[in-house]
């Protein structure tokens, strides 16, 4: 049967309904006229012929009705009629409609938004061909992931058999000069095989060649589509053109596709070969090739499993070959950590995301329970109506269809609002998302998630909506009719009470979790960072350009230029009015800098030759400790005495001093930081511990050195400026001061220390905000549920209340009666909820800080909150019950 013809005929029937009906009427009339005529021909009179025809062929109206009901358009027509009726029903009861629709919308919207955000990170395959074959490889240091060195990469790349290709990458932030202000680009220095590992080639131009990834090779870059559009407006003639980065000439050789996403660092806009010295074999471990600062990815050969790769790599790590010497800090003695790229990407955020996902599933469940509750209440009210309709001859099928239509209408209503909630929710999530959340750009409203949530709620609506129809079909019409005018004590009362108990229980689970997270945040923010974060302006100043290069003729000349520039810039900053004190450091606490940037191996004189530990290296100027307000516990901080000419000085963190020299005075002890072949640093003081990565993490091993005395001059330093007044207002003047020394040096990441601290804890705050929001939703829904059930019960018991009042019950008695009823449900729900919360709180333990999963303050606080809201929700119907006028209640019967 041709679909187009079906459609055309059906549409004609639908649009020209009258004409179509008339045509059928005409045809039926003609049919019966002929039939009558046929009987007349047999000699019957007109009347007899008519009767005979009707006897033979039935009633013409019936035939016409049957013929008219043919075609899909009739289903549409009766559906529209049902829809119309359903809409009228919903409009007649706006309270029910709005509350149910909002309940559904919150459930659908919240769960869709959360799933949309979580899906690209945890579940959706990465946007690379055979993405499951891409692995990341890390050094293992004290059980945790740590970057590795180029030397390690070279050894692994040459010795392995299981990988098709391997590539290292590291951040590269070249300054793009030539514009109004110098701009820093987010880039990566990568192996030539980097894009092969990911399996994506440039859409314009070509990939890197191995010959370009050697020391002194040609300087080439590949651009992201984003940067290509921004700088060159998508000009396809860009290939081969030079681009000036860090004062050097680079050639553009390719542009990545628009859809390409660098999940390893989503903000990356430009790639260049890392150009490590591949021939270097000597046991000179001092060069950049032996710094542990590279990330490593590899693509497995087809058919090689991850387990095989892990096995092979651990074997390589465990057996050292003479060809591949290893320094102490890249000995691989602690082994390697191998993970799939996807798991690796989600490694940090997974516990938080799973917790949020769990929370939103609870919200969806509560929303569903609430919807069931509302629909049951409504169907109880409407039993009489269905009884009447059945008595008037409506078929069971017709009533069911009507109910389904009504439920669908309500679900679509809720779904439409839910879609709005989901769209808004995704926007809010992206806005709130902590920095470092991977694949933020891939987050969009997920159609599957929406369909799922919508389907669940719709199904619930359908099933619940059908219950009254099923009763009708059991032939209980008479009893239903009777009940409609009398009190109703259906079996649903029980179900509804059980549902409310469930709601209260689930709400408490969410609330307790939110309470624990809130308490954690409170404790975290009370942690002493080890310095004074108030009125502190921070910014990163970079040095870029050829004048900072070390020419072979004058080694160290570039470093001296750098040091001089930073000294002069700081001097200029100090002159800015409103600056109380200023200093700089290579590593800023709580700045979100990756740990490897300033982690170095340290070996004390009393350590064995192959021993040592990783420490944070802070290269600072003399005024740094004072500006930051870091406590000096003994000796002195780095000061003006520490110059290029004086003996190298070091200040230890208190914990490092304690653990290395228990019970001894560390001052005067000697150590190496970084390369072993330099003069010893002598300990001149001990400083209080400072939180580096996060307020929640203790990484107390730190060494402060003078920027004048370190073995290399850092090319980027953090300026810290203590303001007399508003720190933010100082920023433009401070930047101008730096640029007054050299206008080509980029200044980036301008922020206040308090702002940086907020960013550091952003992930916790993100989870906390979501739990608070969900807890609030759950609280409101539970209150609505309680209110609904009690209101229903009060309405059904009006007569009873009247009798009680007539027999002498006071208003207080009636009030207490209903309140007691509501509180019984609440307490039961809370008891179950406490059990659930005990389980749930274990699930979020990894997100807690300084707070036990059984923290009494959080638990009691949330129980009290829920209890108070429950009392509030119960008191309205209770008050209504207390005001029942016995005369009216009894007369109504």
């Amino acid at each position: 049967m041709l679909l187009s013809r079906q459609l055309a005929h059906g549409l004609r029937g639908l649009l020209h309904r009258n004409a179509h009906d008339q045509e059928i009427g005409e045809e039926v009339r003609q049919y019966f006229d002929e039939a009558v005529a046929a009987h007349r021909e047999r000699g019957l009179t007109e009347d007899e012929a008519r009767r005979a025809a009707r006897l033979e062929w039935g009633r013409p109206e019936q035939a016409a009705e049957q013929a008219r009901s043919y075609g899909w358009e009739n289903t549409v027509r009766s559906f529209v009629a049902d829809l119309h009726f359903g809409a009228r029903q919903l409009a007649r009861n706006p309270g029910f409609t709005i509350v149910s629709a909002i309940t559904l919308a919150l459930g659908i919207g919240a769960s869709t938004a959360i799933f949309s955000a979580v899906d690209p990170i945890l579940f959706k395959p990465l946007p690379y061909p055979h993405a499951n074959r891409i692995l990341t490889i890390w050094n293992r240091y004290q059980g945790a992931r740590f970057e590795l060195s180029f030397g390690t990469y070279r050894e692994l790349a040459q010795r392995n058999r299981g990988f098709e290709s391997m590539a290292i990458f590291e951040p590269w932030q070249p300054a793009l000069t030539g514009g109004v202000q110098p701009e820093r680009l987010e880039g990566q220095g990568v192996s030539a095989s980097f894009f092969q590992v990911l399996g994506v080639a440039p859409t314009l131009g070509r990939d890197f060649e191995p010959s370009e990834d050697v020391r002194g090779g040609p300087r080439v870059v590949i651009l992201s589509d984003r940067l290509w559009q921004r700088l060159f407006h998508g000009d396809r003639g860009i290939l081969g053109r030079p681009i000036k980065l860090d004062d050097g000439d680079y050639t553009i050789i390719g542009v990545m596709p628009q859809w390409f996403e660098d999940v390893l660092s989503s903000s990356t806009d430009i790639w260049t070969p890392a150009q490590y010295d591949t021939r270097q074999r000597a046991k000179d471990f001092s060069g950049p090739a032996w710094g542990n600062h590279l990330r490593l990815v590899g693509r497995l050969r087809p058919g090689v499993t991850r387990a095989q790769a892990i096995e092979e790599l651990s074997q390589i790590a465990g057996t050292q070959w003479e060809d591949f010497p290893r320094p102490r800090w890249a000995s691989l003695k602690q082994g390697l950590i191998v993970d799939s790229l996807q798991d690796d990407m989600a490694y940090i955020v997974r516990p938080a995301l799973l917790a949020v996902l769990g929370a939103v599933i609870l919200v969806l469940t509560i929303a569903c329970v609430n919807a069931i509750n509302l629909l049951l209440a409504r169907s109880a009210q409407r039993r009489g109506e269905f009884g009447v309709r059945a008595a008037l001859g409506a078929s069971k099928r017709r009533i069911i269809r009507q109910l389904i239509t009504e439920s669908l209408l309500l679900a679509s209503f809720g779904g439409a609002i839910g879609l709005g909630v989901a769209v808004a929710g995704v926007r809010v999530l992206i806005a709130l998302s902590p920095p470092g959340l991977p694949r933020v750009e891939a987050i969009k409203v997920d159609a599957v998630a929406f369909a799922f949530a919508f389907a669940v709620t719709t199904l619930i609506g359908l099933v619940t909506g059908l219950i009254p129809a099923l009763h009708v079909s059991r032939g209980e019409v008479r009893s239903r009719l009777e009940q409609s005018s009398r009190r109703t004590v259906g079996g649903h009362a029980w179900t509804r009470r059980a549902l409310v108990v469930t709601e209260v229980a689930l709400a408490l689970v969410l609330l307790v979790s939110a309470g624990l997270l809130l308490q954690s945040m409170r404790r975290l923010l009370a942690v002493d960072a080890g310095f004074n974060p108030r009125q502190l302006l921070t910014m990163q100043v970079q040095t870029s350009g050829h004048r900072f290069d070390d020419p072979p003729s004058a080694p160290g000349a570039g470093d001296n230029m750098r040091r001089r520039f930073f000294r002069q810039a700081l001097e200029a900053v100090r002159q800015v009015p409103g600056v109380e004190e200023a200093g700089f450091t290579s590593l800023l606490p709580l700045s979100d800098d990756p740990a490897w940037v300033s982690t170095y191996g340290a070996r004390f004189e009393n350590d064995e030759p192959q021993k040592g530990r990783n420490v944070f290296r802070y290269a600072v100027n003399p005024s740094y400790c004072g500006t930051m307000g870091i406590a000096i516990l003994s000796g002195r901080c780095i000061d003006e005495h520490d110059t290029a000419m004086s003996p190298p000085a070091a200040v230890l963190s208190a914990s490092l001093a304690r653990s290395q020299f228990p019970g001894q005075n560390p001052i005067g002890k000697r150590l190496h930081v970084g390369p072993d072949d330099r003069p010893w640093f002598v300990v001149v003081g001990v400083a209080g511990d400072v939180k580096q990565t996060s307020l929640a993490i203790n990484e107390p091993d730190a060494v402060y050195l003078s920027t004048e005395q370190t073995w290399f001059a850092d090319d980027t330093l953090w300026f810290v400026i203590r303001a007399r007044g508003d720190a933010v207002a100082l920023a433009p003047a401070v930047k101008a001061a730096v640029w007054s020394v050299d206008k080509d040096q980029p200044i980036v990441r301008v922020a206040t220390m308090e702002g940086l601290m907020a960013i550091t804890e952003a992930q916790r705050r993100f989870v906390l905000i979501l739990f608070e929001a969900f807890g609030l939703i759950a609280l409101v829904l539970a209150a609505v549920g309680l209110y609904g059930v009690l209101s229903g019960s009060v309405a059904e018991r009006t007569r009873e209340m009247g009798v009680r009042a007539a027999l002498g019950a006071t208003r207080q008695d009636l009030l207490a009666l209903i309140l007691r009823d509501g509180m019984r449900l609440t307490v039961l729900g809370m008891a179950l909820g406490l059990l659930g919360a005990a389980v749930a709180s274990r699930g979020i333990v990894s997100l807690l800080f300084g707070t036990s999963a059984l923290d009494p303050a959080s638990w009691l606080g949330m129980v009290a909150l829920l209890g108070a809201i429950a009392v509030l929700a119960c008191s309205v119907p209770a008050w209504r019950a207390a005001r029942v006028d016995p005369a009216i209640a009894l007369r109504a019967e």
Partner: protein, 111 residues
């Protein structure tokens, strides 16, 4: 929508209509009478079912319909077989023959 109350074997009404119309255009009552006459009263078509079936066959493209005058100058809806209708009749006839033969063989065997 379901074709109930028809004395015609379920599923054969379409074939009977197509066969009847293969001899020439007819209106609804004409078809009913022809089926009844030719089957010697074995099959009687309910007018509701007949008109429904005619709509269905028309939508399927097997029939054309037009309003014309009958011999006693009454306007009636005349149905005629299209080319596709002829093909469909052949298909249904073959299929029916196959089934009837199979049933007949089964019945013989049982007996």
């Amino acid at each position: 929508m379901a074709d109930t109350n028809t004395d015609v074997i379920q599923g054969t009404l379409d074939m009977l209509i197509l066969k009847t119309l293969s001899l020439g255009p007819l209106h609804g009552f004409g078809i009913a009478r022809r089926v009844e006459q030719v089957s010697r009263g074995v099959f009687k078509v309910n007018p509701g079912s007949l008109l429904t079936a005619l709509q269905r066959l028309e939508r399927a493209g097997w029939l054309d319909a037009e309003w014309r005058s009958t011999e006693n100058s009454r306007r009636a809806r005349f149905y005629s077989l299209t080319r596709a209708g002829h093909r469909q009749l052949e298909i249904e006839t073959t299929e029916w023959g196959r089934r009837a033969g199979a049933i007949a063989r089964l019945l013989r065997q049982e007996g």
